[in-house]
Amino acid sequence: MDNLIIEGTKQTPSINFNAGSGILEISGRSIPENTFEFFNPVLLWLEAYSQVAGEKTVINVKLEYFNTSSSKYILEIFKRLRSLLNDGKDVNVKWYYEEDDEEMMETGEDYQDVSGLDFEIIPIEE
């Protein structure tokens, strides 16, 4: 299947989802007013991906900040990945945060708790 590549803007994150390697990355900021418009294609891609995914999927999340309407969709992304776990596949979330951004670290813990996925929560030195 095709990879999903979306270039980031001032309001929307960069997406680089590689179906072949199983390495997915979302980075930047996510503050669009109409979150559905942005995230719906991403969720549709993940649905198709879940049919063809290999043994291991890694998602790198490197978000600087996001609005609360994006936060629901970010959880939806994790829920789609959770279904891979249910199929006996390996899913690893690498949640990056800027070292002094304790809130983003805690948000990572919140998502880990709610999604039931394995998270590595990793500080980025500035």
Partner: protein, 183 residues
């Protein structure tokens, strides 16, 4: 005549107004305001975390206005005037927003803010997780997460007021404080 404008300017200076806006909030205005604020915040001698909190709360406030502001008579949907202001004093930055809402939505909104205000830091976090997990997605926003998130980022109680304007609408005013944290 010139005194009038000077006095207004003086008062904006004395009240440390960083930004003051009245009008309809649309997508272009949100991007413009954020762009202006990024430049202004870069000039502020603050830690990155404080800037991030300010930016986050500003985004939530503007998106609330974008999605929920009504017109004064509920009919001229192209005249959904709202206000947004940001200023500071020795201790805090303040972000205030104001907009008309339907009178029947007042109680629900007041309850929501009161609930958020009644929680301490840990309970607020637990409540955030609960709402994140349970609520359905609404295209108008994060389904209640906005107030929780602003309270979390602010670390202070949310100040608010409702002013009945006519038999259909109330004016909802919200003031969010962000503590200064000089390095």
């Amino acid at each position: 005549m010139h005194m009038e404008i000077y006095n207004k300017f003086r008062s904006m200076m004395d009240n440390h107004i960083i930004l003051s806006f009245k009008g309809e909030i649309n997508s272009d205005i949100i991007s413009m305001v954020l762009q202006i604020m990024e430049t202004k915040l870069d000039a502020v001698q603050e830690k990155g975390t404080v800037k991030k909190r300010i930016f986050n709360i500003l985004v939530e406030c503007m998106q609330n206005l974008y999605h929920h502001a009504e017109s004064e008579n509920l009919q001229d949907t192209d005249r959904r005037a709202a206000m947004l202001e940001m200023f500071f004093d020795d201790e805090f930055y303040y972000i205030t927003s104001g907009n008309f809402i339907k009178i029947e939505e007042v109680d629900k909104l007041r309850d929501r803010i009161e609930r958020v205000n009644s929680l301490d830091k840990d309970d607020l976090r637990a409540y955030y997780r609960e709402i994140l997990d349970n609520n359905r997605i609404s295209n108008k926003g994060g389904a209640d997460l906005g107030m929780i998130d602003m309270a979390k980022k602010s670390g202070q109680k949310l100040d608010y007021e409702f002013t009945e304007v006519n038999d259909k609408v109330s004016f909802f005013g919200l003031k969010v404080k962000i503590g200064k944290n000089k390095e």
